[in-house]
């Protein structure tokens, strides 16, 4: 009985998912009046709710920018907190319209899950955090150290490879949950705490004295994080991709949330095209021509978003580093609006 019944149910479920996925997501979003955005369950600086339930963060800003572009209203977005395990299923099943949850762009995820990565909004990598009073300035001085980390992640393998490649003995102390790692590191069980660098900055805020700890300059893996959409809806894919590109281009062209209205009168053709005073670029992605101007006015350019959420003046205190524009020594490079 089950052999016939189960495929039937599964088929029905997949049929529903397939129809919702193949239909134009933008039309659905416009019809319901908001963007359903998948975020983390609380990672300071990237996607974190405050005491009133307002979400803020670098990943949240991508969703808010989309809402601004489509509805001219940054609040036309609803957030779904997702665990690492749930995130792809939620997107595949159509429960969310876009996943913006510090998700690493890897080949397997891009090619075998029926998903598309729409760009990179934060270049991350695995790093090390130590106590300042240890007097360590480089990860290469960590020979013989005790290292705290999470089990079951690539972090554990990366750190083993790194110490082995540099011929340094070490002791790994691997916990199941991030909070357990923080508690053990804070209590002094380990000299080093290792995970993605952005995670280190975020978890540092949970330590008793965040100021006593520093993140070492070495990055031992590549973890590009970015928004993800379902495969098969190119219009929506383009919209997410160009929302991100618009924010990066705006920073490059010096357009900020403060000067965007004045910049509309600019003579610079690049600025004119971006802000929609010349050409009809917004119409090509199913939006109005002032789509980018709305994003910048309500959310700001990439640099503003970075500074407000994770930059040096925030509790996280992350320097731009590789996340600076290509013209300023980083790798952030958006194709032109043309």
């Amino acid at each position: 009985m089950s052999k016939k019944f189960l495929p039937l149910v599964l088929g029905a479920a997949m049929g529903v998912a397939a129809t919702s996925a193949s239909a134009a997501t933008l039309d659905d979003v416009k019809a319901k009046g908001f963007v359903q955005c998948g975020v983390s369950q609380g990672l300071p600086g990237f996607s974190n709710p405050d005491s009133q339930g307002n979400w803020t963060g670098l990943d949240v800003d991508v969703c808010r920018a989309m809402a601004a572009a489509i509805f001219d209203d940054v609040n036309a977005v609803k957030f779904t907190p997702l665990s690492a395990k749930e995130r792809f299923t939620a997107l595949q099943s159509g429960e969310i319209d876009v996943l913006s949850r510090n998700t690493t762009w890897t080949m397997t995820r891009d090619t075998s899950l029926g998903l598309n990565f729409a760009g990179v909004n934060y270049y991350d990598g695995q790093g090390f955090m130590v106590r300042k009073d240890l007097g360590v300035t480089s990860a290469l001085e960590l020979s013989g150290a005790s290292v705290c980390t999470n089990t079951g992640t690539t972090t554990e393998l990366n750190v083993a490879d790194y110490f082995r490649a540099n011929n340094m003995p070490y002791e790994i102390v691997a916990f199941e949950k991030a909070d357990e790692v923080v508690a053990a590191y804070d209590a002094g069980r380990c000299d080093v705490y290792t995970t993605d660098a952005s995670g280190l900055y975020a978890q540092r805020l949970k330590l008793t004295n965040p100021g006593d700890h520093m993140v070492l300059p070495e990055i031992i893996s590549k973890e590009p994080l970015g928004p993800v959409v379902r495969q098969g809806d190119d219009q929506w894919f383009n919209l997410v991709k160009w929302t991100l590109n618009a924010m990066i281009n705006a920073e490059e062209l010096g357009v900020t949330s403060a000067n965007v209205d004045d910049m509309k009168g600019s003579d610079n053709p690049s600025v004119k095209r971006l802000l929609g005073t010349e050409g009809a670029y917004g119409e090509n992605i199913g939006l109005t021509n002032d789509w980018a101007a709305r994003i910048i006015k309500h959310v700001g350019n990439y640099g503003e978003s970075f500074d407000a959420n994770v930059g040096p003046d925030t509790p996280l205190g992350i320097a731009r580093g590789v996340n600076a524009l290509w013209s300023k020594g980083g790798v952030l490079y958006a194709p032109p609006v043309r």
Partner: protein, 392 residues
């Protein structure tokens, strides 16, 4: 009963209790077999359909991750199989030591609860009530955090004398490195143990025949400790100690007990001891007070009364529930995963996450815990039979 001639006329098969009973039993077995077959065949079919490979070949693959406590040689290039064996040995280590300490603490507390000394009995009472009413996981976390929070960093370690060092990376002891001639001392120890058994059985026989006692305890002390020590001195103290020394971030050398192991051992021993204490108390109280009075009437003092009359009888009551406690302790050791102790479950989980072989790993866990428990059970049953009342 066997005489069918007197039996009442046969009722219809439907109402025959014998046939009915048989029918339901056959039905139950058929259901169980069908259910089992359904689960196994379905799992196999689903795995094949999803192109998930199965089998135990993956155990030969390179593990690639580090482990903090390795009783046998291990490096990142070792196999998954070896990582799981290390986890098994760590589980075994903590279980054996845990059972040992839990038994000792449990006996002391259990007997203390029956003490006529008000303070001692109340202390034992509160120990039992507090410890067994707090969840074990909390106790493990409590001991772990206490251990790493209250001890200093390696550079400010507490020197305990004789080369022992305590800090938040663990408890370091000097490690003895035995010289070649130390074998003679070991031989002396074995001879001493054998001699003690021989003397004990000789002394018992003599006491039964003549009533004369022999100081077996003192002789045993001499044979097991004194004799090997003497040999050790004569062969010129063939031992050197490797002392732990601060090097870089941490102490190296010596024998190290990691905080995860200590915390788990503390928590398991103390928790299980509370239950054992109650079993000991119940066992002793199960022995009729008349036995004690009779022993006193025969002129035995308190200590021999307890040792020779009460405890042997109490043991018969205590052993079966004690077995369950030992089994519980072994299985509870899997909570180690909360404090990063690399036991069977923790290492298995890492391998499972990295190789994706969930069914195989869970299978290994179940088989290992089952055989550990059946082994403990078999030993305790044997011991129980030996101690049980031989009825004539």
């Amino acid at each position: 009963m066997s005489d069918t001639a007197d039996a009442p006329p046969r009722a219809s098969l439907l109402n025959d209790p014998k046939v009915r009973g048989l029918f339901y039993q056959v039905l139950l077995v058929a259901f169980l077999v069908a259910g089992g077959w359904f689960i196994v065949s379905n799992t196999a079919a689903n795995l094949e359909r999803q192109n998930i490979s199965s089998g135990f070949d993956f155990l030969k693959n390179t593990a690639g991750f580090g482990i903090s406590q390795t009783p046998i040689e291990y490096s990142e290039t070792s196999s998954y199989g070896r990582a799981i064996v290390i986890g098994f040995l760590n589980t075994l280590l903590v279980a054996v030591f845990g059972i040992f300490f839990a038994t000792i603490i449990g006996f002391v507390v259990g007997i203390s609860r029956l003490s006529t000394n008000w303070v001692i009995s109340k202390l034992a009472y509160w120990y039992v009530e507090i410890v067994r009413n707090v969840p074990l996981l909390l106790q493990i976390l409590f001991w772990y955090l206490l251990l790493i929070e209250s001890t200093p960093s390696p550079r400010k370690s507490v020197e305990l004398g004789a080369g022992a060092v305590l800090n938040n990376r663990g408890f370091f002891l000097p490690k003895p490195i035995w010289g070649d001639v130390a074998v003679y001392s070991l031989a002396a120890l074995i001879i001493g143990i054998i001699a003690t058994f021989v003397i004990r059985s000789w002394a018992r026989k003599r006491q039964e025949l003549t009533g004369q006692q022999f100081p077996v305890g003192l002789t045993a002390l001499g044979a097991i400790i004194g004799f090997p020590l003497l040999v050790f001195l004569i062969t010129g103290l063939p031992v050197q100690f490797e002392y732990p020394v601060l090097k870089g971030f941490n102490y190296v050398g010596g024998q190290r007990l990691i905080p995860e192991f200590l915390a788990l051992l503390f928590a398991l021993s103390i928790y299980t001891a509370a239950f054992i204490a109650e079993i000991v108390r119940a066992g002793i109280q199960a022995v009729s007070h008349g036995q004690t009075e009779a022993a006193h009437a025969l002129g035995l003092r308190n200590s021999p009364t307890l040792r020779l009359v009460v405890i042997p009888q109490a043991m018969r009551v205590m052993i079966p529930p004690m077995t369950s406690q030992y089994l519980n302790l072994t299985k509870n050791s899997s909570l180690a995963v909360a404090i990063a102790f690399p036991d069977l479950v923790a290492n298995g989980q890492i391998v499972m996450n990295q190789s994706g072989r969930a069914i195989e790993i869970v299978g290994i866990w179940m088989v290992v815990y089952l055989s550990l428990s059946l082994g403990t059970s078999a030993f305790m049953n044997w011991y129980n039979k030996r101690m049980a009342l031989v009825e004539r």
